[in-house]
Symmetry: C2
Subunit: 189 residues, 2 copies
């Protein structure tokens, strides 16, 4: 891989990106991260999460600003629509993950992007979560489709190759397409 373009192509600090890769090669344990969210039930299907602190690069860190994530059900699903449904948040997570990869990979390959947009659609049959599917309908999405529109100073094949490489390196794409172990502990009282 060769750095062929300006240091901040696509707004990516490419020298720092490559320096970070070198630092991780020299000390692989700094790549171990732990992300976190805290959630507090509000009322009905409405809950509020906060994303702030995380562990990474061998230390406790925090985002510059905490992010509040509101989730609820819309009226048609017997909620008060104080925010998207929880399962909807998987869709921007996927789009954003693929898009950040596209920007980084394009910068590393010397491609200047002028536009990257995407639409994500997730089909879900709520017979699953409603317990009315007779075991034949899953709870989650039956399928998710992402459609990218991407423009830049490279040919069609190169632009498609950047999206494909982003897919291969995407944390969210992996988390959705492959099983992740999830444990749930409960403290009562």
């Amino acid at each position: 891989m060769t750095i062929t373009a300006g240091a901040h192509l696509n707004g990516v600090d490419t020298p720092t990106l490559f320096a970070t890769l070198d630092a991780v090669k020299a000390q692989p344990e700094i790549a171990k991260f732990q992300f976190r969210a805290e959630n507090t039930w509000q009322s009905g299907t409405h809950s509020r999460s906060t994303i702030s602190g995380f562990f990474g690069a061998g230390q406790e860190l925090a985002h510059e600003n905490p992010t509040v994530v509101e989730a609820d059900h819309p009226a048609v699903l017997v909620g008060r629509d104080r925010g998207p449904t929880p399962v909807e948040y998987l869709l921007p997570a996927l789009a954003a993950c693929l898009t950040s990869g596209v920007a980084n990979i394009a910068a590393a390959r010397g491609v200047a992007l002028t536009k990257v947009t995407s639409v994500v659609e997730g089909d879900i049959d709520l017979l699953g979560i409603l317990g009315l599917g007779g075991g034949a309908v899953r709870n989650g999405y039956e399928g998710i489709r992402v459609t990218f529109h991407i423009e830049g100073d490279a040919d069609d094949e190169t632009l498609r190759g950047i999206v494909e490489q982003s897919r291969r390196r995407s944390a969210v794409f992996d988390a959705l397409t492959n099983p992740t172990p999830v444990s749930i502990d409960v403290v009562t009282g």
Copy 2:
């Protein structure tokens, strides 16, 4: 299942919840939903998604208010920290999904909840997405742990049973623990 308590226990409109179940039983096709997000790349690893319209109950619908989801990388991951990383959004999605189920199921079972909080932790080794894991490190979370604190007018076993039933009916828990087909289309130019 018996409705044993007030119509709005836990802020859940239980009569409407049961009426909705009856409506879906009579007309299962109204349970087919499609959720969507639109994403626009901003700069570097920063992108902005919007969640607004969706299809459900046989019609095009929209949330009362669109929700904007900002995602970026923190400085330690060569971003400008305009929002959480994309993969962090999976954690509030999971907490919120389980929590909305807990409130609904508790209401259906006549249990008044006084507090439901949770912490979600996701361990991820970034050697995967950095392409430095030699194929042995996955891109996504190695594991996710949810810890619930739940209080209400029921014994420990009942409260644990509510969380367990919510897990069994959770869309996000399923989406993370089982594979979801994801397709990616690219339009260039």
